[in-house]
Structure formats: structure tokens, C-alpha cells
Amino acid sequence: MGKSVNDAGGYVVEVLGSKAGGPVAKADLDAWIKTYKVPVTALIDTPAGSGTKTLTFFGIRETCVIVDVHTMKIVKKVNGSVAGIGDSSIKQLIPQILTLLGK
């Protein structure tokens, strides 16, 4: 899914914000990418294992936002289900960013 956004001139950033609520190590990122075959830019807070700044900033996991990269203002936001019910937040926002990108 993410490739369609990058191909359209957008950019997808996946952040593994926490592991069971705590900081994430590089090995966790590797395991997560391998498990879900993540095909887009996949990151953790730096330095690895030191905290959960991204999760703290957004307040809750399974959060997805579309940002205008010039103003960095959040133009769309979806909080998905942390119980895994229904479409993920990223799946919900991909059609919307593709529309913004003229697709």
C-alpha cells in the first residue's frame, strides 16, 4: 500500500513507537519488519531503546496522520483501533493522501 503513495510523490514513514508500551531496540524493529514485511521507511526513536518520544508525542499507538510537508501542519488524523478491529489507521488514510496527491 505504501508504495502507491511514494510512487505518487508522497512519502510514508512507519514508526515503531513502542514494544509492549516501552522503548524499542533495533532488534525489535528488525523483527517487526520481518513479521509484517514492511516495505516503506521504518524507524524507531533515537537513540534506540532510550524512550518513546514518538508515542508520547502522538499520545496513543495506531495513530496515523497526513502532514503538509511545507507547513508541517497535520491535515488529516485517524486513531485506529488498538484492539485491531476494523481497518488500520494507515489503511484508512492512504486513499485520502492519494487524493491529495492527485491520484
Binding site: N6, L29, V38, A42, G59, V69
Partner: protein, 137 residues
């Protein structure tokens, strides 16, 4: 690197432009390349290349290709930051796998020890990026 190349090419362009201006202001210098801009010369406008097809433009296009430039990206917007629609997202700092083309599983890409929202936003050539926060158990 791109900025350096662009600056160098811009300097060449300015230099060429300056030479042409000097030559055009000196009617006696109608030799070599300056002959074509001598007032007494007959110039066929239909064969004069316009600005979009100059050798300099060709050089720039060849060097830069289709690569996106940082045009339009000023400094990262200042605080206050927030996480609601309409708020400015913070310039978060990360490490991990940068996969610009999204063309393979990301851990096949080199591990980057430091990147940020500011760096990554410049890769969204059409102005929008999507940021997703996940958790792993």
C-alpha cells in the same frame, strides 16, 4: 552536492551572461561569438533558441535529472507543536531503515543512525507525507 552543482552552473550562467552584455555594448567587438549579437548583423529569430533550450539548461537537466530539489523548503516550522489536525508536527528524531522507493522489505536497506521528520519531509515531492505510529509485542 546538488546545491554545489547548481551554484557552480549558476556561476557559469552569470559569467556567460556578463560576457554577452559586455560584448553587446561594444559595437566594434563583432568577432567570433559576438557577431551574432552585432546590431548590424541580420539575425533569423526563427532559429534562435529560446531560454528553455539553452546549453546551460541542458547541462542542468543532465546533472540533476528528475531528482527532487529542496526548493520551497525553509527551516522546519517552530514550536508550538501538537498532535491534532491543524497543529504543527514536531521535528521528531529517528533511526532505522530509509526506503525511499518502497521497493523492497525495508531491512534490506542500509540502517541509518540518524534521520528526522525535517529530512524526510523533503522527499515528498508533491507536498504530503503520511506518518504512522505502530506498536509491537
Amino acid at each position: 552536492m546538488k546545491r554545489f552543482l547548481f551554484t557552480a552552473l549558476f556561476a557559469v550562467a552569470c559569467s556567460s551572461s556578463s560576457e554577452s552584455s559586455t560584448a553587446s555594448g561594444d559595437d566594434s567587438a563583432a568577432t567570433g561569438d559576438t557577431a551574432a549579437i552585432d546590431d548590424s548583423s541580420t539575425v533569423d529569430d526563427s532559429t534562435t533558441p529560446d531560454d528553455t533550450s539553452s546549453p546551460l539548461d541542458s547541462m542542468i537537466a543532465e546533472v540533476l535529472g528528475d531528482a527532487p530539489m529542496d526548493v520551497g523548503f525553509g527551516p522546519y516550522p517552530p514550536a508550538p507543536y501538537g498532535n491534532k489536525v491543524g497543529d504543527v508536527m514536531a521535528n521528531l528524531q529517528w533511526e532505522g531503515y530509509v526506503n525511499d522507493l518502497a521497493d523492497a522489505i525495508s531491512n534490506t536497506k542500509p540502517y541509518v543512525a540518524s534521520t528526522s521528520m525535517d529530512e524526510l519531509r523533503k522527499k515528498a515531492s508533491k507536498g504530503y507525507a503520511l506518518v504512522h505510529v505502530s506498536e509491537f509485542y
